[in-house]
Amino acid sequence: MIERKPLVAGAFIAPALALYLLLVIYPLARGTQLSLTDSKVGNAADFVGLANYQTMWHDPAFWRALGITVSYAVVVVVLQNAIGLVLARALYLRPRARRVAGVLILMPTLMSAVMSGFVWSSLLAPNGALTSLLDALGLHSLTRIWLGDPHTALWSIAAVNVWMFAGYSAAIFLAGYMNMPREVLDAAQVDGASGARRFISIEWPLLAPALTVNVTLALIGSLKVFDLPLVMTNGGPAGSTETMSMLIYTMLFRGGGSFAYGAAIAMMLLVVVVVFAGTVQKVLRLREERL
């Protein structure tokens, strides 16, 4: 007979629980408390209730940053997963190339975001490699001031984000492919189903768990994006790439005594991430159950 020993169980989880309380719950509680004060630089200050949140409600910079962040996340999640899926299917159908190509597509993920940002800033400069390439191909009409034009700056950063993590999404989709029962796919092929029909009717439904994981991770990562816009555009031009994380950073560390307001925006970003990621995950899990 298995004997329950709650004290022993508690002793085993206590260290992990203590770390979780110290590194997650305590900073969250302190950040919330800070957002309800008028602290200038993080020092102890007076309680002001929801004043910072009221300021946020009427702050056009906040709403602009929120719109930029959500737009960025939608584009990155869709493109990253679409490209990742295409890569995964290609690798699945080419087992001989899988080992080498699988490593190659993961290489951008292994670079730090700061390094990627600097490299792509140079490539996307007006006199950079991309403009030179387009000129050499006779496509001068397609050249742009990629990071200096508000119509292209945010999507240029999104493209770098997708380049970095499409391989990561592909790896997760590939794992989903490898878990598919081979006989189902073979049977469909024998029955004469085309590649598109096999994808729509068999592969896509069976990839539901991998899709849930990929979309959730990509959504959380892109809503919190910070390093790439910081390095590549510093939030410009004219604030067109200032995400919520960048706005928080400005309030905390770029002077003006706005530490508490920055903490309030950080709380709001947490709410945004939880609501969006939670909703998406709920919808995708329900889809998995239906399938």
């Binding site: 630089v41 001031i145 034009d149 410009g236 004219a238 560390f253 770029r254 002077g255 005594g257």
Partner: protein
């Protein structure tokens, strides 16, 4: 049964022995650690019997003195240690900007930062107001600080820093490129400037570089022009703006000058938004790729080292017969951590910097102006015209302690200027946006 009991009793004896050994080891480690800590404490305090042999260690944070901008800091620190053999300096270079603020501010919040901290006008306002910085109002050098500089080192009526420099952010001119097009001296009026730019353009040389990817150069250029076109007419503009009696519409002529450079084809303002100020911009001017360039005077040493034959001048914004005004910025300062345990040593360090015979090498390296009324400002052929304007009283100081400072001031000007260059707003729209964001009328 007995063999089971024997195994359990021998197991518990072994367990007791292991526990005893572990406890002894823990106690020994704790005793060693506390001995080390007390030894370290004795070394860094100025009192106590063990400090008679060991010098006081004074920790200093600064964003000058790194490889890219040595600024003769090491030389001055060595002179300080020679004059104060009982003090040993631990100078730590931390890169400027957000990196510096993240480290210093976080440590000040935790009560564990350096004894002396490099600051600026914004940091004095933020950190002075919350008690992070030591009150230096009783310092003997305070009455000698230029009266225009005193507000930048003060907060709430108290002084919290010794100013190290007042530095120009204005126009560099490449004399070699100007000579190629038959121009022997740098321009002093707007018409002369336009003539020089046209000559450079005709010769296929980039007339002026204004890399503005992060917005800094656009804001700097407009401020440099405003020094002449706004502040010569109204030296009290900043105070009037804060009181709601002046508006950024007064800056329209200054803004228009930059736009005119674009319409006349001397610079592609939209394209400049794709070039990085601090890498491409600086490297291109060092390589002799443009005739004129807006930057801070602290770059003069690097340009001289790179072999650029240049001069640093006030932006020639005025008409014939007008001497242009210099655009100055109250730069780095030194403050004492209010929680420092070696305040006497820290005070000696800031007092040392207040003496221009000691800080002269720093001012020379930075091509900066002394912040003290009776201080000596080094002059070189490259900066002679700029220093002449300052000595004649023709200058304006960027209000980094009021509307230009903090999270909103400079950032708002950078953003709105980028929007202007993109054509998203016109000059009136630019002025209205800044009036709304920064206060005033």
């Amino acid at each position: 049964m007995s063999h089971v009991m024997n195994r359990s009793s021998s197991g518990s004896i072994a367990g007791r022995r292991r526990f005893t050994a572990l406890a002894a080891l823990s106690i020994a480690a704790a005793v060693s650690l506390s001995a080390c800590a007390s030894g370290t404490t004795a070394q860094t305090t100025s009192g106590g019997s063990s400090a008679a042999a060991a010098p006081t260690v004074l920790t200093v944070y600064g964003w000058k003195g790194g490889d890219a901008e040595p600024a003769n800091i090491a030389e001055i620190n060595a002179a300080f240690e020679k004059a104060n053999p009982d003090i040993k300096l631990d100078y730590q270079f931390i890169p400027a900007g957000d990196t510096y603020t993240q480290r210093a501010q976080s440590e000040l919040l935790a009560g564990k930062s350096a004894d002396v901290i490099m600051t600026d006008g914004s940091k004095v306002q933020d950190w002075g107001s919350v008690g992070y910085l030591q009150d230096l109002s009783a310092s003997p050098w305070l009455p000698g600080v230029r009266k225009e500089v005193t507000p930048f080192i003060s907060q709430g009526g108290k002084a919290y820093a010794v100013p190290m420099e007042v530095i120009g952010i204005d126009l560099f001119a490449n004399l070699d490129l100007l000579k190629q097009v038959g121009v022997s001296t740098a321009p002093t009026t707007w018409d002369e400037f336009l003539t020089d730019l046209a000559a450079l353009k005709a010769a296929g040389i980039t007339p002026i570089a204004l890399p503005n990817k992060d917005g800094w150069t656009g804001s700097a250029a407009i401020n440099a022009i405003a020094a002449t076109l706004v502040y010569q007419q109204n030296p009290d503009w900043d105070a009037q703006f804060l009181a709601g009696k002046a508006s950024f519409t007064d800056w329209a002529p200054a803004v228009q000058q930059v736009l005119d450079l674009g319409t006349k084809g001397y610079v592609d303002l939209k394209s400049e938004l794709g070039f990085d100020t601090w890498s491409t911009g600086l490297d291109d001017f060092k390589s002799g790729k443009s005739g004129f360039f807006v930057q801070g005077a602290w770059n003069q040493s690097a340009f001289t080292t790179a072999g650029v034959n240049d001069v640093f001048i006030p932006w020639p914004a005025g008409g014939a017969g007008t001497q242009p005004s210099a655009n100055l910025f109250v730069g780095t300062m030194l403050s004492i951590n209010a929680k420092s345990t070696v305040k006497d040593a820290a005070q000696k360090y800031v007092d040392f910097w207040a003496d221009s015979t000691n800080s002269g090498p720093f001012l020379e390296s930075e091509s900066a102006v002394s912040p003290f009324s009776q201080g000596t400002t080094p002059s070189s052929p490259a900066t002679a015209d700029f220093v002449k304007a300052v000595d004649a009283g023709k200058y304006r100081i960027l209000p980094s302690n009021t509307w230009f400072g903090g999270a909103t001031g400079e950032k708002a000007m950078m953003e709105e200027t980028q929007a202007l260059w993109l054509g998203q707003v016109d000059v009136n729209g630019w002025a209205k946006a800044l009036d709304a964001k920064l206060g005033g009328s």
